[in-house]
Symmetry: C2
Subunit: 683 residues, 2 copies
């Protein structure tokens, strides 16, 4: 449904392909600013503020350490964006950039703190002011995004910006249960979050495949439930400090009563089945569940929640609650008896009872509980925040019931969907649009979710970025900011900035292709990579069997979820098919097809040299055939020649075959070529 909507938006919009074809343009196109998220209010002026080594930044007003440290980081980043060394200790008297902070921010960052800022850039002076340090941090990021190289050197355009977010909860969840992610991965992604003004890092810290935090109360959790891959409490503190310095809250999640297999490898006594248990290595939904009928379970949880709520200062504490299949409960006579005694008619009622108890424990430790969709029952207390993931209706249901809600349905970035699809999902769109003002106020925002079945430190950045920048804009900017072409143009620019900030979403592809082939020159593999994508949704798991020990080192792991080149070719094909393409656009489409057609002959002889590239033989050959058909169609269109029905039928069969996944890869050229072939038949 969403897919179709996106498709029609793309097809009906004229898109300036030439601009993207040559990469992000220098300077500002058509008067718009290359910012993501777009600010609330912008007044553009003439000229620019030039940035050179004489730049001095003064800090005035309330002396917040986060601002002082923010200035240091700002200058370091500005140095990295420009290659100009900046010195910190300039006196305010000669500063050309003045930061003014009106007052303090909360000791522990709170939901709904004022995040607004005012940024006024003239040709000679920059003024950044905000109520508190959060606004200052956002304003500094806006400034960094404005920096670009010009004939006069590095500069930012003259502009006045008044900005604040639409939603107070703008999150990214990273699942470190399925594939553990080292601290460096977490920290560079917090850098990325800061750059696009996300303010909640939801840390999914435990799952069937691992419990990832050191517990001093229950040390067997790290010893037996983590496979040696967990964060020490010292590291947790480090991440929390790192996040706070960037205006980001850290909300921990301990998923229960299900998704707890790993826990039982350490403490089987709290399980609903006799065991024995070991850390799960497969992907999927599993039966093990905490036993909600025993006092000991809640004593254990009270101590654990006590320890973890003390470790994580945020006001919110996520208790998971998703995907209970109830099988262990059903198979346990004692639990069945308990349910009968207490008049619980089904497993959902038992889970509701469990959730109620855990909610009380969380509240007892002075935290606000949060849980996935499933924890919402008619009697769920109003203080529980719901994270809606299962479908588009959950959010409205929760808001109507009086619960605050965070939307994740539509933002599952592990599913390899295009940025545009996520971008057009709005927390207050769909069913949310029909809420009353009071109900709408309960919609706190949203979260992109990086589930980690198929990500390693090598490629996780490429699954998160740059698409999460588009999602961040959805949470920050006005609801009517939804021009997909503008989004793609600006996302390409912010993507380049993020790579400069040492995220590896682009560079990882090349590294992985080098690893696959054992070669430094991977030009032909890159050409092939530009035409293919991983399958969307959960299709991958049906194509091959995976577990937590599976190598994730093949082409499907190396290529980004959305090929910029293939996307661009799709645009060109649409314009040509609609008779709206310029001669330059015809040429671009033709050149791309020639490269794809001719690549196979160069690549094929090398593929057999590596076990990891051998499987690409059919993919490469098929791409070449598809490109040949595309070139023929272009030729037919150019010469107003309608191809014979036989030839067309034959070509369609090739295209259909090409559209089927090979080596777990989807050919993204076949479908636009089909468009061209159909257009050539309809002349």
């Amino acid at each position: 449904m969403m897919m179709r909507r996106f498709g029609s938006v793309l097809l009906s919009t004229f898109f300036c392909a030439g601009l993207v074809a040559s990469g992000p343009a220098v300077g500002q196109a058509q008067g718009s600013l290359d910012l993501m998220p777009l600010p609330a209010h912008v007044a553009q002026g003439e000229g620019q503020f030039l940035i050179d080594g004489s730049l001095a930044v003064a800090v005035e007003g309330y002396p917040d350490p986060r601002v002082v440290e923010g200035r240091r980081r700002f200058l370091e980043r500005l140095g990295s964006e420009t290659g100009i060394p900046f010195v910190e200790d300039r006196s305010a008297s000669k500063a050309s950039f003045v930061i003014h902070t009106a007052g303090p921010s909360e000791a522990v960052q709170q939901l709904g703190e004022d995040e607004s800022y005012h940024l006024a850039i003239s040709a000679t002076q920059v003024e950044l002011s905000a109520t508190n340090s959060l606004g200052i941090l956002h304003g500094l990021q806006t400034f960094l995004q404005l920096v670009r190289i010009t004939p006069q050197g590095f500069g930012v355009p003259v502009v006045t910006i008044d900005d604040q977010p639409r939603f107070p909860w703008r999150g990214l969840m990273i699942d470190v249960g399925r594939h553990f992610q080292p601290l460096a991965v977490i920290e560079r992604n917090l850098d990325g979050m800061e750059a696009v003004k996300l303010n909640v890092f939801h840390w999914h810290l435990s799952d069937d495949q691992g419990f990832r935090v050191e517990s001093r109360q229950f040390p067997l959790l790290q010893e037996k439930a983590s496979g040696g891959r967990y964060y020490t409490q010292e590291q947790i503190h480090e991440v929390i400090d790192y996040a706070r310095a960037r205006g980001i809250r850290v909300v921990p999640e301990f998923d229960m009563p299900c998704h707890t297999t790993a826990w039982f490898a350490a403490y089987p006594q709290f399980a609903s089945a006799p065991g024995p248990f070991k850390i799960e290595t497969k992907w999927g939904v599993f039966d093990p569940a905490l036993d909600p009928t025993r006092e000991a379970t809640f004593e254990f949880l009270d101590k654990l929640i006590g320890e973890m709520t003390a470790l994580f200062p945020d006001a919110y504490f996520h208790i998971g609650g998703d995907e209970c299949d109830g099988k262990e409960w059903d198979a346990n006579p004692r639990i069945k008896a308990f349910m009968r005694e207490h008049g619980m008619k089904d497993d959902a009622a038992l889970q509701s009872y469990f959730t109620g108890c855990v909610q009380k424990l969380v509240v007892g430790h002075h935290k606000i509980p949060e849980g996935w969709d499933e924890v919402l029952q008619p009697d769920t207390p109003k203080n529980v925040v719901i994270q809606s993931w299962r479908g588009p209706k959950g959010l409205a249901t929760a808001a109507r019931q009086g619960n605050q809600v965070v939307l994740s349905n539509g933002y599952y970035i592990d599913l390899n969907k295009p940025a545009s699809e996520h971008y057009l999902v709005d927390p207050l769109g769909g069913d949310g649009a029909n809420l009353t003002a009071e109900q709408k106020a309960r919609v706190l925002g949203g979260e992109a979710t990086m589930w980690s079945e198929f990500v390693t430190p090598d490629n996780i950045d490429s699954r998160i970025w740059p698409r999460t920048a588009a999602i961040a804009e959805r949470f920050w900017s006005a609801q009517d900011v939804r021009d997909v072409d503008s989004m793609y143009r600006r996302m390409a620019i912010v993507s380049l900035k993020l790579e400069n900030y040492r995220l590896q979403h682009n560079s990882s592809t090349r590294m992985m292709l080098e690893r696959m082939s054992g070669k430094a020159d991977v030009k032909e593999l890159e050409v092939l990579a530009s035409a293919v994508q991983p399958p969307q949704g959960y299709a991958r798991e049906s194509l091959h069997e995976y577990n937590s020990g599976s190598p994730l080192n093949r082409m499907v792991d190396a290529v980004p979820p959305e090929s910029e080149t293939a996307w661009r070719f799709g645009q060109l094909a649409s314009l040509i098919a609609a008779g709206k393409a310029s001669p330059e656009q015809w040429k671009q489409a033709h050149d791309l097809l020639v490269v794809w057609r001719d690549n196979d002959a160069k690549l094929q002889p090398e593929l057999g040299e590596s076990d990891l590239t051998a499987e690409l033989s059919g993919v490469s050959e098929s791409l070449s055939q598809v490109a040949s058909i595309g070139l023929q169609a272009l030729d037919d269109l150019r010469n107003h020649r309608v191809p014979g029905a036989d030839a067309r039928e034959k070509n369609m069969q090739v295209l259909k075959a090409a559209a089927k996944p090979k080596a777990i890869l989807v050919d993204k050229v076949a479908s636009p070529v089909e468009l061209l072939v159909n257009a050539s038949a309809k002349q």
Copy 2:
């Protein structure tokens, strides 16, 4: 002199250019192993040991924590080289990879500890044994270098290696005085050092432009002498631990009595002139020097050396001693009087007196002093280690005089010279070859020196790597290992591995080109970059004025010191000129020239859009002209047509003009093209 020698070696050697043209080949070429440094003894077998997720590594023998941690890091790195997740906790009983450590290593790593190892790889089993953990660490790195992708998957060849280093002191010096380098830079370069078996990190911690260590005795050093850029003592400990885990000693250097301007910004009372002083921002040799005539100076130094020798556990302590111009001493009547009183005939004698006193302080703190060439005087105590830098004779002089010596002359990697030139310098070559066996035994090894006038965290890796891998081979492998073609072939392979270890010597170029242009597509800039290099030696400073605040963000900073493509073209041109090129090599040369010739037309229109690329207009145009001349010469040669004298004269003028630096860049194509033109004239 060295340059000429290198030139003739290259020109007289047949080189298999095709191999490099397509990147490092998969598998082993011609039976040799793709290792750098090459091991002492190798016995190759048939077949390979396959690496998959079932690999288990057992640790036996002496339980050294460095081995246990080394295994953890080994598995992590192997995971990163293959994309296969490896689990640590396998029992030894089913291990296919057994590590056996015979005994302990020293609590603080000592010069001359046994570093040998025995690595036996069969098709089913790997055995790595060593006297102590140092050999184990080296053996693990050898194994990692052997890993390559094959049609059967990842594997290492069946081989038995017995290996140990030729020299016990194999170092890399990084100057953090002139440009401070963050911890991340230091640590990733320690990773690189470990990969090529370097074992001394010489940390040049202070210079005129900054004192970079927190002193608790003299806190003004970090407060006033560092510009806010220094390492805390906690960070120093972190680096020392990091290095020790990798079998690397950390030798700190505090350069005195000169190169101390920054010190006097904090403590002017110890200077030889009245001041006032501020941190130096220019590059060069400066007058400020410690006052060797005052008791207070040595009281200060004794406390400082006491603090720093306690901070750095290594047995050696480097006191610098280079480049005293004596001007402050000569201008100070009190110092002149002191010299007269004590019968010191010149500044060298005064410095010798100073060095003698400081040496005693260092020895008093139980350390062995080390100093640059200049500290060697006829009466220098025999316990002082000399680091020879000024010329090829210093090493032999020191060894004859009875001092141990480390060679750095010939390994100045800041001078942008080709790897081959450094590679052919041997600590026991040149004057060193004529030493007696006893004198030769005093030659401890050598150090590559990364002086930091022109490096930032952005490009420092590209100045160090991969050339330092070739230098590391010089220090480790047999003296007769000096085949330049083999070195370049293997260096390209190890370069790829180092990039996988997150060094940024290759990726930084692209990042910097993106930054220069503000564009994601930098294909044409990359083509231009492939043809140019920074000037060699100290030429850069005569072409433009620089200081510590100068932006280092231009093409000259982005390109590596040695262009692999231009080097390859040089090889092809030599073969063609000598009448020894194959048809394939003719084609490769032709294709490169076509790309260079045609690039200007595409690149030129964009250059003016950025201040940082505008200066490349002339460079690009000139390259196009040079390539055109090269294509004409190829055509003349192919058709046995001797060009007219006028045309040749005109072309030679163009080539001469092209050979002059433009935008501080040297065109590396002009000279090989001249070779072709000359060859065409001599048919």
